[in-house]
């Protein structure tokens, strides 16, 4: 009786392992991860590029987008792109670093807010809000391919 129980248990474990190995592979069985489908990758890209577009609009002073996100990036009529065409001279690949204008160790978001407040005379935005994420997305996207060099002045 006891012997039969042992055999049955061992057989059950063996069969269970066989099923797992056959259906999902050894590593995925351990990592609990699914392959990405092409549709999923396309969806991720669409979400990303939508943020790039919103960030682009904000960066270029689109009033309708600012109103929609309830931000005021400038009160002087100026837009970020007027000093940073194509997102140039932003150097997002150098952050975080000591930023002398702010006189502290800063992230890109800190610098974005400084620019909004000081040169643009706008109203600082929520550093974790949708507008900041969109601006950051556009700036990084526009500078993609640049060599990462954090801390560089």
């Amino acid at each position: 009786m006891k012997g039969t129980r042992y055999v049955l248990t061992a057989l059950g474990v063996f069969l269970g392992l066989l099923v797992m190995l056959a259906t999902s592979g050894t590593d995925r069985a351990l990592a609990h991860k699914e392959k990405h489908t092409l549709e999923q990758l396309k969806a991720f890209d669409e979400v990303f590029m939508e943020q790039v577009k919103i960030g682009d609009l904000l960066f270029h002073g689109d009033g309708a987008t600012e109103k929609k996100l309830r931000v005021t990036l400038s009160k002087t009529g100026m837009a970020c792109a007027m000093c940073h065409p194509f997102g140039s001279d932003n150097h997002p690949y150098e952050f975080p670093k000591f930023q002398e204008q702010i006189n502290k160790f800063a992230t890109l978001r800190d610098m974005i807010n400084w620019c909004i407040e000081k040169p643009n005379e706008g109203v600082k935005i929520d550093p974790d809000g949708d507008a900041m994420k969109a601006l950051e997305t556009y700036i990084y996207w526009s500078n993609r391919g640049s060599k990462l060099d954090p801390g560089r002045h």
Partner: protein, 407 residues
């Protein structure tokens, strides 16, 4: 090796790497080399009277040794000296451009700086023979902005001549600008120099009719330097090239010619219209002449280039500084130190140009901050600093209904 030596070695390596990259081949450099080889045969070079002296890019305070007064005022001119032989008498003229005025109830900082520049021009002693306004008086071509600018310029009681910028033109296709300032291209002779004003902005391809844009939308897209919609608008045009050819045809080939244009008369960076699209044809017209200087605006930065036998000097804006383009900065340019974004008086100004009987023409960038403005090390330079940078054109303005132009 101690820490100091290691730091020096690292600095030296960084400088050598930066220069290697600066000299590396690119499409723009190859195009310029080919054009230069076409325009300047072996053994030829610009007129020997047009010699860049070592005074170029030297800080005037070092030469004059009398920095105390300038330091008090906060004004350090930068002297860019060209030697020009024409045997005429000494005279000065001033260049002011790229004021980008908004109505006063929107933005006063550009008004303040334009006003300061014009007052300083008026205060020149001896007085300037004339003031050339190099375009972009207004920001969005609004008659309010143009009238505001005209009133500011009236503070200069000397003779004034004007060429348009794209920001002046595309709201009403130049109607108000021409009403105020006359024809957009012209020529006059003055003390042995033939001065030519070229219109490089009004012949942009029509991007608005098919898309049924309003005048403000058209102007908004044109006002976006890095926009995708207005396209390669900068050009001289066939009709104006023929006019230029006729204008210069009776001028002695070795006598000085100064051509004012809003855009540079060579290819610097087309995506931002830092060029004219028919620059090759311009140089074909200028080929016989050995003494041509182009003075231009639009780029809002100190620039110097030679192509063929023509020299080209970029003027500063009074409004703000553009970054140096990611590629195409002429090798002869000494770039400005990166501008302080917290100080809107930094990196801007106007120019005082002197033509002397001692066969020199001096361009003095009159700037409003007391500091060394020319970069020596790559990490200070507006050009060298961007060697690490890869950029992408924007996308949002390519989607219907063409969002994102300035309103």
């Amino acid at each position: 090796m101690d820490d100091h030596d290691r730091l020096e070695l690292a600095r030296e390596k960084a400088m050598r790497a930066w220069w290697r990259k600066a000299r590396s081949c690119s499409e723009v450099k190859r195009t310029r080399r080919e054009m230069d080889e076409e325009l300047r045969k072996p053994g030829e070079r610009p007129d020997s009277s047009l010699a860049i002296t070592r005074r170029i890019f030297l800080h005037k305070s070092l030469l004059a040794g009398a920095a105390a007064g300038a330091a008090t005022y906060g004004w350090f001119p930068l002297v860019n000296t060209l030697d020009l032989a024409f045997g005429a008498e000494t005279f000065k003229f001033a260049w002011v451009s790229d004021n980008h005025l908004y109505p006063k109830n929107v933005n006063t900082r550009f008004v303040d700086k334009a006003t300061r520049a014009v007052k300083e021009v008026q205060a020149m002693s001896p007085p300037a023979d004339f003031l050339i306004h190099g375009g972009d008086l207004a920001q969005l071509g609004d008659p309010v902005e143009l009238d505001l600018g005209n009133n500011i310029l009236k503070e200069a009681k000397i003779r004034k001549v004007y060429i348009p910028g794209e920001h002046d033109w595309y709201l009403d296709m130049g109607a108000k600008w021409q009403q105020l300032f006359g024809p957009p291209n012209w020529t006059f002779d003055h003390k042995g120099v033939r001065f030519v004003g070229l219109d490089t902005v009004s012949r942009g391809p029509d991007y608005w009719t098919a898309k049924k844009m309003t005048a403000k939308e058209r102007m908004g897209h044109m006002a976006t330097l890095d926009g995708s919609v207005a396209g390669a608008w900068a050009g001289v045009g066939r009709d104006q090239l023929e006019w230029l050819n006729r204008t210069l045809s009776n001028w002695p080939k070795g006598n000085p010619i100064v051509i004012f244009s809003h855009n540079p008369l060579y290819e610097y960076y087309p995506p931002w219209n830092f060029w004219v699209r028919d620059w090759r044809e311009v140089h074909e017209v200028l080929k016989p002449y050995t003494n041509v200087t182009n003075v231009h605006g639009h780029t809002h930065q100190a620039l110097y280039n030679e192509i063929g036998k023509m020299r080209s000097i970029g003027m500063l804006a009074t409004s703000w500084t553009w970054p140096y383009a990611p590629e195409g900065v002429p090798a002869l340019t000494k770039c400005l130190v990166r501008v302080d974004p917290g100080d809107h008086f930094d990196g801007v100004g106007w120019s005082r140009l002197t033509m002397t009987a001692a066969e020199k023409i001096e361009n003095e960038y009159v700037m409003w901050r007391k500091k060394d403005i020319l970069a020596e090390a790559p990490w200070d330079s507006g050009c060298g600093d961007n060697m690490n940078q890869v950029l992408s054109p924007r996308i949002a303005d390519r989607e219907w209904p063409y969002y994102g132009s300035y309103k």
